[in-house]
């Protein structure tokens, strides 16, 4: 997933939680980047017709941006489920975040051919927990992980 897709996914999830535009500061926090970097990428996304930025309100995705963000989110769900089902990784939440920048759409599609994913994906994704709710039900967060 390239950097632009990671931004689109993060904006989408914040919009879902806020039910409105994503504030630049919150987006920067979510991605662990500086506000200046976030602003630069928002400008690029605007230029590509994927997002609209309104001063003092924040950034909203266009219809095309939403489609792209949902694809990125679907890829993220695939990475999480692949880590659990195939590689049996217990800390799949942490590792999915580490891997997402190197796993593009095509790799995710190939991994998708060997996992058992539900059709409601990516609507199954819980933005607050940063995990697929179906996966969360099967593999609840251990207390020790939650405390980290």
């Amino acid at each position: 997933m390239n950097t632009a897709d990671q931004y689109l996914k993060a904006i989408y999830l914040i919009q879902e939680q806020e039910n409105g535009p994503a504030a630049t500061g919150r987006l920067a926090d979510a991605l662990d980047v500086s506000p200046a970097s976030a602003n630069e990428m928002i400008g690029k996304l605007e230029g590509r017709g994927l997002a609209d930025h309104e001063k003092y309100k924040g950034v909203s995705l266009t219809d095309e941006g939403i489609v792209r963000a949902r694809e990125a989110l679907r890829n993220y769900c695939i990475i999480e489920r692949f880590l659990v089902e195939v590689l049996e990784v217990e800390e799949f939440r942490v590792e999915a975040r580490q891997l997402e920048s190197v796993i593009d759409d095509n790799v995710a599609d190939r991994l998708d051919t060997i996992i058992d994913r539900e059709s409601e994906c990516p609507d199954c994704f819980d933005p607050e927990a940063d995990v697929c709710t179906l996966l969360e039900a099967e593999y609840p967060l251990a207390d020790s992980e939650a405390a980290d």
Binding site: T3, Q6, Y7, A10, A30, L31, D32, V33, V86, L87, E95, R97, Q98, L99, E100, S101, V102, I103, D104, N106, V107, D109, R110, L111, T113, I114, I115, D116, D130
Partner: protein, 162 residues
């Protein structure tokens, strides 16, 4: 969440190599499945040879990745595990016809090529010290990447010739 593309540890590197192994195993298992599923009329000698060569090459790549994973003191992903998963999901993901098989093969080769390219970039951008020689690691991955590029050309040539 982080937007960096760096690899910070042996563990992360091993995980990426394991994913590379899985991609190779998927190619190997799917190519074998295509040969098994398509009848002889649909599968001429040229395409059969292409799929068999792809499966052999993937098996070789898998073994080279497996050696690197072992050096990082991590577990390999057994081929029979991935073969069983491909078998279980094949009904929902199989190409519909002969053209679909060639597209599937092209997609496999292109996906693998781009994956190794991204992993090499991530290794080169990383300042981490790995317990495996970085030069040999990149050389191995670059050599596999070039064979994937040749694979893309082979499939494309065959598609254009038909």
């Amino acid at each position: 969440m982080s937007v960096t593309r760096q690899i910070r540890s042996d563990h992360q590197l091993a995980r990426l190599l394991q994913i590379g192994m899985v991609l190779e195993e998927v190619v190997e298992a799917r190519a074998a499945k295509h040969v098994q599923e398509l009848d002889d009329e649909a599968l001429d000698d040229e395409v059969r040879a292409l799929l068999e060569h792809a499966a052999e090459e993937s098996a070789d790549h898998r073994r080279r990745l497996e050696a690197l994973v072992a050096e990082l003191d991590a577990e390999s992903v057994p081929f029979d595990q991935i073969e069983a998963l491909v078998e279980a999901q094949y009904g929902q993901t199989k190409p519909e016809d002969f053209d679909g098989v060639l597209y599937d093969q092209l997609y496999n080769e292109e996906t693998a090529y781009k994956f190794y390219d991204d992993v090499i970039d991530a290794i080169e951008a990383s300042e981490a010290r790995f317990s495996i020689d970085r030069g040999r690691l990149v050389e191995t991955l670059a050599s596999i990447r070039e064979e994937e590029a040749d694979g893309v050309k082979e499939v494309t040539d065959l598609m254009e010739a038909r």
